[in-house]
Amino acid sequence: MNYSRMIGNNITIEAQRRGLSLEQVLAPLGYKGEYLSRLTEGRLLLPLEEIQRIANVLGTSVDTLTQPRDDQEYLASVHKMGSCDTLEDQDFILDLFDMYADLREAVDAQDKQ
């Protein structure tokens, strides 16, 4: 799993554990709409200071948000029909989705220029 996706998933998991929505955690830090979604999708590369700010709001440590967890926690974070035992398959699919979304954004951005 890539680093950004792991951070996004860790933030989501920690927020859920506290019974908080992502908006409740991230909106006070200025993450809204598109940026909030990108962060939780793992498509926003956060500097360490930002991770620290989020950890503070959650009342946790930077280590908690930057350390990989058990695969099962990440597997449970995506809706699937059927079962998926390995993170490898899930990541492969999510990587393709990300590549496609990035590509469309790059083409659209070029059109607007």
């Binding site: 709409g33 598109e34 979604s37 990108r38 999708e41 498509r43 995506v78 809706h79 699937k80 029909m81 059927g82 079962s83 998926c84 035992d85 390995t86 398959d89 899930q90 492969f92 699919i93 999510l94 393709l96 989705f97 990300d98 590549m99 496609y100 979304a101 590509l103 469309r104 954004e105 790059a106 083409v107 659209d108 951005a109 070029q110």
Partner: protein
């Protein structure tokens, strides 16, 4: 095991939402079969890709594209086409937010999402009247004219396979539909469920004997919405690296040609007679 765990008002709400969806999509065919993929593609980006892990049928996530949140659905094309069809209908239900709609309509927030979505998929792919008619027709063809009949499990298995082919849905979906519609007693449903897990070879033999050529076949399709066009456009605009382009071409087995490489048809004039 009884799967009928939805209250009647929830079932009615699901049926009404299926009618709404049919009207919205202007769906003329009451039995959508693989037309379901076109409906799904209207709502989201669908990734068709064969993964060796057949336990994973599909996946649904939302992703930001530009400033919009879009739905992305994955379908495992290593699985038989009937499983892909059912998966597409199931994910369509999630995208349409049918679970929340039904919970709100009947004011019961405790209803299980997956139960609602699975029932939506069943109602969309196998409408009750069409299901009953297909069953009656097959029974008549087999020589059973009465309303209540006693048949062997093997004959029932043949009927299940016939209905799988007719609606292009998996074995489990047909058995569950029979249960939902109270077509057979619980022990018969349980027997059919056991047969699937313990006698897969017999089911495959019936599929082969019946020449149901679409069943139990995979297409191993590899595609995403307009991917080739998107890659060509990205290449032309210089917004994709060679490495990324090659990676995606390899993954999806896409052969791309520059316009200059495509052989031109002769410009010489030819005569035709009308």
């Amino acid at each position: 095991m009884n799967h009928n765990n939805l209250p009647m008002e929830a079932i009615i709400a699901i049926k009404n939402n299926v009618i709404k969806a049919r009207n919205n999509y202007k769906l003329m065919n009451l039995i959508p079969r693989d037309d379901i993929f076109s409906l799904l593609e209207e709502e989201c980006v669908v990734l068709y890709y064969p993964l060796d892990n057949k336990d994973i049928n599909g996946m649904h996530v939302t992703k930001t594209v530009g400033q919009e949140l879009e739905h992305f659905v994955y379908i495992n094309t290593k699985n038989p086409i009937e499983k892909q069809v059912y998966c597409a209908a199931h994910e369509l239900g999630h995208i349409l937010g049918l679970d929340q709609t039904v919970r709100d309509e009947i004011k019961d927030q405790a209803l299980d999402s997956e139960a609602i979505i699975n029932r939506f998929a069943a109602e969309l792919l196998m409408p009750e009247e069409e299901f009953r008619n297909a069953l009656i027709l097959k029974l008549k063809e087999m020589g059973y004219e009465q309303k209540a009949v006693s048949i062997t499990m093997d004959s029932l298995l043949r009927i299940v396979v016939y209905l799988m082919n007719f609606f292009l849905v998996p074995y489990k979906a047909i058995v569950l539909r029979m249960e939902e519609m109270n077509i057979a007693a619980q022990e018969v449903i349980d027997g059919l469920e056991t047969l699937e897990s313990e006698n897969q070879d017999r089911i495959i033999a019936i599929i082969e004997e019946g020449k149901f050529e679409r069943l139990n076949t995979t297409n191993e399709r590899k595609n995403m919405k307009n991917l080739t066009e998107l890659l060509l456009e990205a290449k032309e605009k210089g917004v994709i690296s060679q490495r990324k382009l090659k990676k995606l071409q390899d993954i999806f087995e896409i052969k791309m040609q520059d316009a200059a490489d495509i052989p031109q048809i002769t410009k010489e004039e030819v005569h035709i007679m009308i």
